[in-house]
Symmetry: none
Subunit: 133 residues, 4 copies
DNA sequence: GTGGTCTAGACCACA
DNA sequence: GTGGTCTAGACCACA
C-alpha cells in the first residue's frame, strides 16, 4: 500500500501512518498476514525520521492491528476479537456522534448523511449480516 | 451547559472544552447569542487555570464558533457560512470514511450503522431539507 | 456625522470612533468649530457604554483633533500645526510602508496602488501644492 | 532577519514580532521555505519569555504566514492565495484611505504621496504586472 | 468586571 | 532538539 503524508497537518505524522494502515485493513487493501515495509524502508520512501515510523508501528501494535516478529518483520494481525456487544454499541454511538457533530456544522441533512454512508460503505469490508445479540 | 474535563486524556484540556462547546452547538444546547461562562467562572468551576480556559476560547474564536467582545464576554456566533458545496461534500466523505473504518474494525454491518445514524440524528440540529446545489 | 461601530472588530470600539472622526476631518465632513454630540447622546445613539465614548473623546483630545470646553461641549479643533518637515517625511514614509506591506501580501502591482491613491485622493482635503522646504 | 522589540509600545510584543515578519516577507528579506529562529533561540536573543515568542508564531500560523512542523521548526509558508478580486480591491481601498487620512492631517499634497509610494515601492516585492480580472 | 498580555517554569509529544 | 500544554500569578486595556 502507499502512504501519503502531509507534514504540516495538525494530525501527527505517526498518527497519519497508523490511521492509513487502519483504513487499508478496513477496506481490504491490507489483509491479515500481509507484511508491512520495514521501518528503514518506509522512512526512506516517505523521507521521514525513522523514529516517527517506529512510533507509528508501536501505535499499530498497541491497537492490535499488527504483530511484529523479531527478525522477521511486521505483519497485519488476524482480526482482533471485537469488544462486548455493549462496548461495541458504545463505541459506535461515539463515532456516530462525532460524524453528526461535524455534519451539523456543515449544514447537512440526515438524508445526505445516510446517502453518503450507503455510497462509501461499498468500499469497506463491513460485516454482511446483523450481529445477533 | 456543563463541561466535563478528563485531565488524564491524551486530548488537551483546552481542546476538550472547545470540542464540547462545538457538540453543544450541534445539538442545540448552545445557540447563537448565548453567552459562555466567563473565563474566571469556568476556571473556578472546572478547577483549571484561567489561561487554559482562555486558550479554549481563543481556539473557538479561531474556528468561528464564538465571538469575543472585549470587556463583555464570549458569545456563540451566528452559524458560519458553510464551505462550498464541493468542499462540504469532501468534508462529509472524510468523516464518513472515519466512521466506516471504525465500524468495520468493530465488526458491524451497514444496517447497524444506518440505524445508529437515524437514532442519534434526533439529538442534532441537522438541516431539515437537502441542499440544492 | 454618522459613526458606525463593529463591536466584534479587533479594533477597540473607542478607537473606531476616534479613527472615524479623524477620517471625517480629513474628508471635510467635519470642519473646525463643528460640535460633536455629547458623550451621553452618542452613547444612546450607538448603544454603547458611555465610558467607551468618553475614552474616544479623550483620545481625540490627546491627538489635538478636538477641544472640550467645559459646560459648552466638544468641538473640532483648528488644524493643528504640522510637525517639522523631517518629522512629516518620516511619518509619511511609515504610513506608505504599512500600505505597501499590505498591498504586497494582496499580490498587487505598483500601478494598481498608484491608481487607487489617485482615485481615493479626490475624497480628501489634501494640500493643493507641494510644501516648499 | 533581525527583530527589534519595543517593550513599552502599546503594540503587544507578540504582535510586533508578527508584524515585522510580515514586513520582511513583503520586502523579500524572508522568503517561502526560510526557517525562522526557534522559539528558544529568539527568546534568548530578544530577552523575552518563550511563551511570548510562541504566541507570535501561533498568530503568524493563524494568518497563514508560516507553517509550523512539529519537532522541526517554523517556516515561511508559500504565498497564500490572495482573496477574491473584489475583496482585494476592498482591502486596498481601506489601506489607501488610512494613508490618505494621515497624509491629509500631515498637510501633504497628492503629488508628495505618489512620490513617496514610487520611492518606497522599490523596497517591496510587489507584483510586476496588473492583475487581469 | 471582562478578556488580553506577559513572565517563570515544569513537563510532554513529536520528529 | 523542536514546539505544545499547563499552572501560577501579576498587571493592563477595555467596556
Amino acid at each position: 500500500m502507499r502512504f501519503s503524508i502531509n507534514p504540516s497537518s495538525v494530525e501527527p505524522v505517526y498518527a497519519q501512518i497508523a490511521r492509513q494502515a487502519r483504513e487499508a485493513v478496513a477496506r481490504g487493501t491490507l489483509r491479515p498476514g500481509d507484511q508491512l515495509p520495514t521501518v528503514r524502508e518506509l522512512a526512506l520512501e516517505l523521507v521521514i525520521n525513522p523514529n516517527t515510523i517506529a512510533a507509528a508501528y508501536r501505535e499499530m501494535e498497541r491497537a492490535g492491528l499488527v504483530r511484529t516478529l523479531r527478525g522477521r518483520g511486521t505483519f497485519i494481525a488476524v482480526i482482533q476479537a471485537p469488544a462486548s456487544p455493549a462496548e461495541r454499541r458504545r463505541q459506535l454511538q461515539k463515532h456516530v456522534e462525532a460524524l453528526l457533530t461535524e455534519a451539523t456544522h456543515l449544514g447537512l441533512s440526515e438524508e445526505e448523511i445516510l446517502d453518503a454512508v450507503r455510497t462509501v460503505a461499498r468500499k469497506y469490508r463491513l460485516r454482511e449480516e446483523k450481529n445477533d445479540e
